[in-house]
Symmetry: C2
């Protein structure tokens, strides 16, 4: 093709990038989002419909031309109307926060700029933002000088990344080069109360079911450090090399914090890597009221902390922090000549993450930390923890509810047990599941159920700091009504 | 704590969620972003500063109170000013697109709603959106009925996910339960021209350096199918079980498409899984002009396709597509009682992705497909491919430039070779690197360099459809001036 044969871009290509179209659409979208936020407490938490009905409502027959019935603002309006409302004060479900509205605006900037961040050139601002946020997080957790890390796409990927670093440091041979089969299979010691992503990471790495050796938990669903020696011996007896203990701060089902100091002692005595999955609960370190929950965290070799949980950021934004930042290079070790001139260039983040291209997640946190101040995040943590304590107090005071355990964080497990109703057993389990489904279908309040010790319990995570006692009372009333 | 003891949320918690504050900030942010887009062609592509200077400009000393000098809009303004501009028509660098502006608005919605999507309840609209987008992508690639897949956070994670599915299907034993050590080590056959994430996935899975057996490439940097039998024999001779061939469509450095039909024939004859990394180039299927590049793709067992490359979406949004959708459940197989009542519930996406919580990435693509029409995306692909062809024509016509190979996609590799200058060798290599760094520092045009056959070449990916012949001419002139 000669230079003269190149036609101009098509009119629709040009139109799509038109700044004034973006401005007009943008103002319309902001108004719809603001209206949605203003009405956060109105109507149902969850406008429930069956998956089949939802799929029928959003067909996959995308036309070649723009769909006149589905311009951008119309699709956004419909999406807002049909989605679960995390900003609703009766949202008491999964550990996903109502994001800080400022973060959604920073997110729009991140999406438009789309600086890919694998190399510094592709993130001239995003890179220092990420480094600053990681540095602040490491300092907040009390990690020593020399600590550092990275941001990655979610806690599951973060746990996998940390276990890769643990493997590189403690396997006793070069797994990256030689492969797993060059030596005995590896294992980590972990309580069954850990998040399923730990087991998933272990099996992804090829260690199999036996790669996660179960450590007993105490009555409060915390890892029992006195059982570590037994678990360690089990791993050795099975011909495995134990390389790490994985502790939870806190665990997913109950929010219980594993006791980090005795676990760290055990790791130090046995040359084990200590990985702490603090995806949910590491944020306790922000509050002098709750920092004691994570005492010992500063002794961990690696920590995962999700900003998209108790830092109220939109998904996904996970920090992987290492007490010795050099370990970040151990997880992945390779070269790509078009990207990295040589290794260990601290300004090229892609050497330390599974992702090559990455979202500008650090910029969103950076902007919010400056605009709201660290104190805002402390308030957030203290508020949702206080709400969980207040809910627990209500449940204990009620004759027809049973509290599973005193909450350590913002997660409360309990069950409804009418005074003249079913005894513990299958009937009581079935009642919890039925109540939970009915409340979901009604949409007035959203909470979950889970298995604890083989029994079915109801479960809430208080994620919305604007929830008040009124909504906690409403939760109990809704359950009674549903039952 | 009694019910009466619960104080109201702090004023700053309430203020941060105020809808009118969001509205005012939102309109201000939209205007800044629109102004930035309007000025896309003005000023430098890349406002270069050293990493050290950038870190100094964005300190990590976050104050407890809001930083009066860094409100949200101010931080966004500074971030816009310092970031590389993908919407600049002289952006010719990494394979990261200037996102569709509509996608940035849908992204703000996704961030505010923050529907986590692991279970259908947490993504009542996001789930059907993802299913519809995946279905459309599978159909676009010509996959048969019964195909399906998922969206995940990036091509590297997508390739890892697909290899996990391949492992589950073809390892010959239950690696998920028994571990890798229960049988001979595995291997995939792959050309060295594949993206580094393939090698990274193989080593993550514990197969070591030998887990990726190199297949030769032809003069056009395409996998040479006639070398597959040799590579297969090498794997067997090393005591490995070859389970898959990984093909690139197209490869990262040059955009060359591996010949999928003979590769698929080989896989069929030897019982191997065929994984195609189409992260960059699968989008060729959208255009009748270029679909022949991916002929045979419909025979792949798994395919990775990044919407954040040639579908002009913001990062990250990657599809993992399986010819048989059931394989999606093979990659990860487990339970989490608080999430999944039982397995294979098609409406709960978290069973098939590494992520538990996930961004509403499908909703962004869905909104853009409706608002712009499929034809827009065809235009995009055809435009950036045509620009690469036009650049190649210019380079061939110029006496002082050398084209590495005729581009098959939108990636062009070439070098500057002054008529009376250095001969091939270290001097010529050094000249390319020096020219590339100087152009980066000047910021007038942004492109890369890479190693091809041990020599250093310049490399561009034309990602901006609004680039014209004027900018291609400017690229050549800038290189001459820098030299």
């Amino acid at each position: 093709m000669s230079a003269d044969e190149l036609p101009p871009p098509s009119p629709r290509l040009v139109a799509a990038y038109d700044a004034e179209r973006f401005r007009a659409d943008g103002h319309a979208v902001i108004d719809r989002l603001a209206d949605h936020l203003a009405a956060a407490a109105d109507g149902p938490v969850l406008p429930w419909q069956s998956p089949t009905a939802a799929v029928a409502a959003w067909p996959d027959d995308f036309p070649d031309e723009p769909d006149p019935a589905a311009d951008l603002v119309t699709t956004i309006e419909r999406t807002l109307a049909g989605s679960i409302r995390l900003h609703h004060p009766r949202y008491l479900g999964h550990q996903v926060p109502p994001p800080l509205p400022a973060a959604a605006l920073a997110d729009a900037m991140a999406a438009l700029l789309n600086n890919g961040m694998a190399v510094y050139e592709m993130g001239g601002v995003a890179t220092p933002h990420e480094l600053a946020v990681v540095s602040w997080m490491a300092r907040t957790l009390g990690l020593p000088d020399g600590a550092g890390g990275l941001l990655t796409s979610g806690g599951s990927l973060g746990n996998l990344t940390a276990l890769l670093a643990a493997r590189a440091a403690r396997a006793g041979h070069d797994v990256w080069t030689e492969g797993s089969h060059a030596a005995a299979p590896l294992a980590v010691l972990v309580a069954r109360t850990a998040h399923y992503s730990i087991d998933r990471a272990v099996r992804t790495l090829g260690w199999g079911e036996g790669g996660a050796v179960a450590v007993a938990v105490d009555a409060g669903y915390r890892l029992d450090p006195s059982d570590l020696a037994r678990a360690h011996a089990v791993a050795l007896a099975e011909g495995r090399r134990p390389i790490a203990v994985v502790a939870s701060a806190g665990s997913t089902a109950t929010g219980a914090y594993d006791p980090l100091e005795p676990i760290a002692d055990f790791c130090a005595a046995h040359g084990l890597w200590l990985h702490v999955d603090g995806a949910h609960g590491a944020a306790a370190a922000l509050s002098p009221l709750h920092a004691h929950r994570v005492r010992g965290l500063e002794r961990a070799d690696s920590i995962v902390w999700d900003a998209h949980k108790l830092l109220a950021m939109p998904a996904l934004c996970t920090a992987v922090l290492y007490r010795d930042a050099e370990h970040a290079y151990g997880a992945f070790a390779q070269e790509a000549s078009y990207l990295f001139a040589r290794e260990r260039q601290w300004w090229n983040l892609g050497l330390r993450t599974l992702e090559c291209t990455k979202r500008m997640m650090g910029s969103i946190v950076y902007a919010c930390l400056r605009a709201h101040g660290v104190g805002w995040f402390r308030d957030y943590v203290e508020r949702v923890f206080a709400l969980a304590a207040a809910l627990a107090a209500r449940l204990e005071a009620a004759a027809d509810f049973e509290l599973a355990l005193t909450p350590e964080a913002n997660i409360v497990c309990f069950r409804y047990r009418p005074v003249s109703g079913p005894m513990p057993g299958p009937d009581l389990d079935a009642l919890q599941a039925a109540v939970r489904t009915r409340c979901r279908d009604r949409g007035e309040v959203y909470f979950l159920d889970t298995l604890l010790g083989g029994e079915r319990w109801l479960r809430t995570a208080v994620m919305n700091p604007l929830t008040t006692g009124v909504e906690l009372d409403a939760l109990l009333d809704a359950i009674r009504a549903a039952a």
